[in-house]
């Protein structure tokens, strides 16, 4: 089920029942992503939040068709009415060069250590635009300046290892912007950074996205980062989106029990130190050993018999929100009544 939250003209990317399956030697293929649907508008900041094993990073890779073979991708990924999953490798490469860019978690492994930073950015620029080398270099310098690298003219000639972690991440952002993409996918871009550097880089990202009116998908496990950046958040659990909400609604009144528990488990700076941290018992299920019915039911404090047997479907609450829980509507009305 996909939700269209604005008219066709501003929707850039529409993901419809995306699934990622890996074949196995014996038995059924393993599917860490099982039918994910969402849409992305121009200028929108979408967050995909989940813990390890939720399938969020794999979703990002699948959108770019960068998942290692052998893999079976199901569903549709429509970029302006073209299904990316049906494109030939050459056409997909063209999409990656011109329309969609990906920022990775670890800049050191994404940047080629034997080439200067300038060379790599210039390469990205020239892949996307037909410009002279001189012009490309000028653009590269501008990009470095834009992402806050001091002395960009000099640093163009530096190698990745000569930068600090935060600077490397900025370089990667510059590279991602070099092709003037419409969609930016950021996969845990600040997870490997110090918290102070993280704050600076997220600020930068926010400004750049606003300046260029980019559509962004931010993948993260950090609920604080998502709160500060995203307009809308999809919460993933065991390969599916279990709740999709505008950001304010999600954090104020989460509907799905997992989303609620996850928010409760975050250790905030002002948490009550005399109380135990509210935690979720058990651990996330493995993709090849999913519980019956609702995948969250073994850990859910509100689970009923029905939850163990019947798989929930996404239920719409208030127009653009939906949650995959049998009791979504009841929970939504209770919490909004209680909250106001």
């Amino acid at each position: 089920m996909s939700t269209m939250r604005s008219d066709q003209s501003t929707t850039l990317l529409m993901v419809d029942q995306l699934s990622v399956g890996f074949p196995r030697k014996h038995g059924e293929p393993v599917t860490p992503v099982r039918g994910v649907s969402f849409s992305l508008d121009r200028g929108q900041r979408l967050g995909i939040v989940g813990e390890s094993g939720s399938g969020k990073s794999l979703t990002a890779l699948a959108l770019m068709r960068l998942v290692h073979e052998p893999v079976a991708l199901g569903g549709r990924v429509l970029l302006d009415d073209t299904d990316l999953l049906g494109l030939s490798p050459r056409d997909m490469a063209s999409v990656r060069a011109h329309r969609m860019s990906l920022i990775y978690q670890d800049p050191m492994s994404a940047l080629n250590p034997v080439f200067t930073v300038g060379k790599q950015i210039i390469e990205a620029v020239r892949l996307a635009h037909d410009v002279s080398a001189k012009e490309a270099q000028a653009r590269a310098i501008d990009l470095l300046a834009d992402v806050g690298v001091p002395e960009p003219m000099r640093r163009i000639g530096s190698y990745p290892h000569e930068f600090s972690g935060g600077m490397r991440q900025r370089v990667m952002i510059a590279m991602a912007l070099a092709s003037d993409p419409d969609v930016l996918i950021a996969d845990e871009p600040t997870t490997a950074l110090d918290v102070t550097t993280q704050a600076r880089v997220m600020e930068l990202l926010s400004r750049i996205v606003a300046d260029r009116h980019l559509a962004v998908i931010l993948i993260t496990h950090d609920l604080g980062v998502a709160a500060g950046f995203c307009d809308e958040v999809e919460v993933m659990y065991a390969g599916r989106i279990v709740e999709s909400s505008p950001v304010d609604d999600l954090y104020a009144h989460p509907v799905h029990p997992y989303a609620e528990a996850l928010l409760g488990a975050v250790c905030r700076l002002d948490v009550d130190t005399t109380q135990p941290v509210p935690s979720i018992g058990g651990q996330p299920p493995l993709p090849d050993r999913l519980p019956s019915g609702c995948t969250f039911h073994p850990r859910c404090p509100y689970a009923t018999q029905r939850c163990a047997v019947e798989t929930p479907v996404p239920i719409t609450i208030e127009g653009v929100r939906f949650a995959e829980c049998h009791y979504a509507r009841e929970r939504a009305s209770v919490s909004s009544v209680g909250g106001q």
Partner: protein
């Protein structure tokens, strides 16, 4: 520093309790791999035939019969006879005792000494490590065969001496391997944890690190056995192997080589057996290595 997430391996199926890479089940799992089965079978065949040579050899290996000189393969002599009429098959079977005995013995010595040397150097670090490893470099810089020649000339070439000499010559390579295996593990958290628990160093090295270094060491042992066989065969080929009338496979190749235009079978059979043994040892080593690592064994 990073707030990295310990990724639960989400796409790799987990073992059930009970399906564990324990040593008893190793053999069973080896049997599931075609290469494993074949190489093991060949080695078992060679070892068994060598061990039971006196029982299965059709003739005595030293029985001279001038009448039967240079007979090609026939029903009486499956592999033919040599220049003194001796049955080649029987000589091969008994030769196996020497070839395999030296090969395994030397490999065992090189592994034991190499592990002691490499582990000691690896955990000592600093000057001691440098000293020990430069010694390794020096020894390895000398061509093995030449070195072997010198040692055999000095100490003789009877069976135990050969085993020791070849074992010593193969030790430096094992030492290097053992040392890098140790170094890789010493940087790990579980090593630090063992130190933090106050476990004595020797116990950590052999109780905790060795099991982790075992796959590479075992594979190396199989390869060392193959190397030892080549060295021994080479020495025999130039006449410096075990003295006659005993003959290892290499001696037979030497004798056969001089008759190569006259009696081709004489060099082909021993040569093929050596080839087979070396292939089997190398392959077995690879298969074991893959199996012994609990993470890749699925």
């Amino acid at each position: 520093m990073s707030a990295t997430m310990a990724e639960v391996p989400s796409t790799r199926p987990r073992d059930d309790v009970g399906e564990l890479p324990a040593t008893q089940r190793l053999l069973t799992r080896l049997m599931h791999r075609p290469l494993g089965v074949v190489s093991l079978a060949i080695l078992v065949l060679l070892v068994v035939s060598a061990v039971f040579a006196p029982l299965i050899a059709p003739h005595s290996p030293n029985a001279i019969s001038v009448v039967d000189r240079f007979h090609g393969p026939s029903s009486a002599h499956w592999f033919g006879t040599d220049e003194l009429g001796r049955d080649l098959l029987s000589r091969l079977l008994f030769g196996g005792r020497i070839a395999l005995g030296i090969s395994f013995g030397a490999a065992a010595i090189s592994t034991i000494l190499g592990v002691l040397w490499g582990f000691f150097a690896g955990q000592a670090g600093g000057l001691l490590d440098e000293l020990l490893m430069r010694t390794v470099d020096v020894v390895m810089a000398i061509p093995v065969i030449l070195f072997a020649l010198v040692l055999v000339a000095a100490f003789g070439s009877d069976l135990p001496t050969l085993i020791v000499i070849i074992g010593l010559l193969l030790t430096p390579a094992s030492a290097r391997l053992a040392r890098s295996a140790v170094l890789a593990e010493i940087r790990s958290d579980y090593y630090r944890a063992a130190v933090a628990l106050g476990i004595p160093r020797v116990r950590i090295l052999f109780g905790e690190l060795l099991p982790n270094a075992a796959p590479v060491i075992i594979a190396r042992t199989a390869l060392a056995a193959a190397d030892a066989m080549i060295i021994e065969a080479s020495l025999s080929f130039i006449g410096l192997g075990v003295p006659p009338p005993s003959a290892s496979w290499g001696t037979l190749v030497k004798d056969g080589y001089s008759q190569i235009f006259h009696a081709l079978y004489y060099v082909v059979f021993p040569g093929a057996v050596i080839l087979l043994a070396i292939w089997a040892l190398n392959t077995l080593g690879d298969q074991l290595q893959e199996l012994l690592d609990p993470r890749t064994s699925r």
